[in-house]
Each structure stands twice: as structure tokens, then as C-alpha cells.
Amino acid sequence: MAAAGHMTASGAPARTGGMTLRRQVLLLRIALLAGLLGIWEAAAASGLLFRDVVPSLLTIGRSLFELLAVPDFQWEVGITTLWVPDFYRHLWITMAEVGAGMTIGGFSGLAVGLALGANPFLSKAFERFLYYLGPTPKIIFFPLMIMWFGVGPGSKVAMGTISCFFPIVLSAAAGMRQIESVLIRVGRSFRLNTWQMVTKIYLPAMRQPIVNGVRLGLGVAVIGTLLAETKLSNRGVGFLIIDAYNTFDMPRMYSLLIVLFVVAIGANALVGRASRG
């Protein structure tokens, strides 16, 4: 009986052959990356493509350096003035907009999701519409958001909010229904009050679906916010990208994409760690 009690949850790799397999995977990845960069560099050098559509890696590297390390903006923070690359101000604006959207959309999504999960009548009445609206591209609401909240950060936050609301509400509702009913009966038999039921049983039991919802929500909130920033805007990373495109500064555009990519990986890793921690 005790013998079955020694599995590890993380699934440790098999000792025999594990290292060589891992090394092979790593080598393959490096080879693939080097190959892609080689093809890129060859295409840039060949001159077959329109000038600057495929700039050389060196040009992109220089532009990346300029973007991240050459101060060109006086940023007034409180009483001090910082001399920084302008990019950081735009990144800060985008992060603040995404953060605000996630906060509003996340909490309202969680609240509505819990209500739908707890009440079969509400779920029967409304959940179908959420399933229809969920996959609809939220950019179609952007003209409305501009009219309601203006061309400033308000409409960007609204786009982030409506983007992340749907995945979070749907996973919270599904997560609540997935809770084993016996756990709720255990709570009742120990005479928990409503607050204890929510904090000691419902929320811990729903942790995984909620984290998944937040993860999906964060992804679409970033998309919604960036898309919104590319239209009628003069601030944020989305604006920088579309601005680089409009001025045909391709190396700068590629640098922005690379930075965004790294930021996205970092954000995902943070949420992933929060789900395990």
C-alpha cells in the first residue's frame, strides 16, 4: 500500500539517457536558431528583397541599443527629472494600461464567474452569450470605446478590460462547477460559515482554473491594449510600433518586436510561477 506513495508530482526525468536527450534537444534548438539567423543575414546581404525590409542583424542590434540605452527623453517622475530612453516611458504607459485592464476585467470576471458557477439559473440564462462573445475579436468594439472613453488611455484600458474579462469569467465559472461536491459537504459537516467556505474551500479548489484564466486573459489583454494603441494614439508600445512602421524605420520595428517578445515571455513565466508557488 505504501509503495504507491512515492511518485513525485513533477515527474523527474529518467536518469538513464536523460542528459543526452536534453543535450540533443538543446543542440537542435541552437542549430535551428543559428540556421534562421543565417538565412536572415543571407537574405539581407543578397539585396533581393526591398531595401530595409530585411535589415542586417547588425543594423537591428544597433537599433535595439538605441532603443534601450540611448537617453533621449526628460521624464519627470515626481520632483525629479530622469534622462532616459523614451521607450521606457511608452513601456510604462502600456504596462499601466494592461495592469488597469487586468485589474478591472479580472475582478469583475472572477465575480461574475463565481456567480455563474454557483447559480445554475444564471448560468443557463447568460453563459451561452459569453461563449458567443468570447472568441469574437474585441477590436470591433474599439470605435465604441473611443466614443465612450476618448482617445486617451481610457479607451485602451477598456480594450484590455473587455479582452481579459471573457477568458477569466469562463474559466472561473467552469472551475467552480468542477469542484468535487464532497469537498463542499465536508465543509458543511465541519460547519464552515460562508466566508470560510469561499476562502478555505472554493478558492483553493479553483486555483488552477483561475490561474489558467488569468494567463489567457493576460495574453489577450496585452493584444487588445497594443492594438488599441496603434490607432489614434501618441503613447504606448503599440504606438511606437505603428510609428516605426509609418516612418519605415524597419530596424526599430524589429527591435520593438524583440523587446515585446522578451517581455511576454517574462510575464508568462511570472504567472506560471504564481500558479505553482
Binding site: 500500500m1 505504501a2 509503495a3 504507491a4 506513495g5 512515492h6 511518485m7 513525485t8 508530482a9 468535487e180 464532497v182 469537498l183 459537504r185 465536508v186 458543511r188 459537516s189 465541519f190 460547519r191 464552515l192 470560510q196 478555505k200 474551500i201 483553493p204 479548489a205 486555483r207
Partner: protein
């Protein structure tokens, strides 16, 4: 069994359910009482309303006729003197063994070190020393069910109410866990009410067995089990044990075959409707 000495009194319980096929009487005028320290098993075939009875006594079900009282006090809703152990897997997967067992103490507002000391005692009582920091997913089914048992025992209920706690386990594990239950009951003088469909288990553990009829669930017979205590699972091989099993099986077989016939008819009817 004088009613005045009883810690648990179940009087004339009737529970009906509305179903699409009309009103179903799950429990029909069932009465019994349990003396302090006594081990009573309620046995019956599937569909005899055993689990309904369990939920009524545990206060998880209302809308019934009759009365359940603990030490003279009528039960409405879950009662602090009754500790329930469920048939299903019921450990909290996000808590370690020790935190599972300490759960009722945490709810009662007991301080951290005090509740861990107490929880450790109950972990030891069910024989899981050394597994305190493990998560339920790292344990076997039998070990998890012992965690649930320790968690309920930690709340120190006057009456332990168990609904087929070992139903999901294999027969050997079940007999060995039965030893554990016997030992705990001896050590704690724990009043216990066991709901089961398992004949061996019922005879192995009980002082008295209440046999229920198949739908509607009524009391068919109450049998005193006069096997000596302390007992272990070795008693399963004795003549006296076999005698009790045979006697109760006689009653039970009749009821179980009614259930079987009923099931067959229902399936046949459903098939006819589909055609």
C-alpha cells in the same frame, strides 16, 4: 437498549424524494438508537436509502419526517457532536496531510502550534507518521481515506458517522483498515455508526447490525453481534463469524434480489421507451 442512555436517537425517519416517475420513499419509518461507545452498522443493498439516512443524521439533508437527537438535543443541520466520514475521496488536495488533519482545529480557531501537536497525534493514530508533509496525490487510496478519518477524528466528535468509507478499496486493504478502526474505537471508546453494504465489514466491526429492506428502506431486523472484543481481522476465519454472516446474508439476499429485479425491469422499460 434503554433510550435514556442513548447518545444518538433516530426516531421514525421518513424521507421522500420527488422524481420524474412520482414520489420515491427512500427511508420509511426507520428508528434505532446508539449507546455511548457502541458500534452500530446499518447494512442494506444499494438503493435501500442508506446514504439518505447518513445525510439525514449528518444534518446535510432536510425536509424529512421524524427526529434525530444527540444526547437529547434535536439535530437540525450539521451537529458539532457528529463527525462525518464520506464514501468519496474527500481529502483537500491543496493541503498536506498534517494541514488536512488540522483543518477542523483551524476552523475552530486553535493556534498553530497547538493544532499541529494535536493533528500529529491523530495522524499517528491512523498510522501515517512520517507522511505529515506529503500531499494526498502522493498517497495511496487507503492512506488518503485514513487522512479523512484522522481529520474527522481530530474534531473529536462524540459520534462518528461513516458512509462506506472503504468502498473504493480492495478487500485486503479493507480488512486491514478494519483492524485500524477496531483499534481506534477501542482506544477512544468512539461511538460509531457505520453505513455499509459490505457484510464482512459489518460483522467484523459491529456490536449490532441493522439490516434494511430494499426500497422503501425499512428496518428488517436488528442483529446483536456477540463476538468477543478486542477483535482483529483474524476473527473473519472463525465459525461464529461465519454463522453471523450466513444469518444476515439470508435476510440480505432477499432484499438484494428485489433490487436486482427492479433494476432489470427499469432497464427493460427504458429500452421499450427508446424503441
Amino acid at each position: 437498549m434503554a433510550s435514556a442512555d442513548s447518545i444518538l436517537v433516530v426516531e421514525d425517519i421518513v424521507k421522500r424524494f420527488e422524481t420524474p416517475d412520482g414520489v420515491l420513499t427512500a427511508v420509511d419509518h426507520v428508528s434505532f438508537d446508539v449507546a455511548p461507545g457502541e458500534f452500530l452498522a446499518v447494512i442494506g443493498p444499494s438503493g435501500c436509502g442508506k446514504s439518505t439516512l447518513f445525510n439525514v443524521i449528518g444534518g446535510l439533508l432536510d425536509g424529512y419526517d421524524g427526529r434525530v437527537s444527540v444526547a437529547g438535543e434535536t439535530v437540525s443541520g450539521p451537529h458539532p457532536s457528529i463527525g462525518m466520514i464520506f464514501q468519496e475521496e474527500s481529502t483537500f488536495p491543496w493541503r498536506t496531510v498534517i494541514d488536512n488533519v488540522a483543518f477542523p482545529l483551524e476552523i475552530a480557531g486553535m493556534g498553530k502550534s497547538e493544532r499541529y501537536d494535536k493533528a500529529r497525534h491523530f495522524v499517528g493514530l491512523v498510522g501515517l507518521d512520517g507522511f505529515e508533509r506529503r500531499y494526498p496525490s502522493e498517497l495511496s487510496g487507503g492512506m488518503r481515506q485514513r487522512v479523512s478519518m484522522a481529520r474527522t477524528l481530530a474534531s473529536e466528535p462524540k459520534i462518528l458517522l461513516m458512509d462506506e468509507p472503504f468502498a473504493a478499496l480492495d478487500e485486503q486493504t479493507r480488512l486491514l483498515l478494519g483492524d485500524k478502526v477496531l483499534q481506534i474505537q477501542q482506544d477512544l471508546k468512539q461511538t460509531t455508526l457505520l453505513i455499509t453494504h459490505n457484510l464482512t465489514e459489518a460483522v467484523q466491526l459491529s456490536d449490532r447490525i441493522l439490516v434494511m429492506t430494499y426500497r422503501p428502506g425499512k428496518t428488517k431486523r436488528i442483529v446483536d453481534i456477540k463476538l468477543p472484543r478486542p477483535r482483529t481481522s483474524e476473527i473473519v476465519g472463525s465459525d461464529a463469524f461465519g454463522h453471523y454472516v450466513a444469518q444476515i446474508w439470508n435476510d440480505l439476499r432477499e432484499e438484494a434480489s428485489k433490487g436486482l429485479k427492479d433494476d432489470e425491469q427499469r432497464v427493460a422499460r427504458a429500452g421499450a421507451v427508446r424503441k
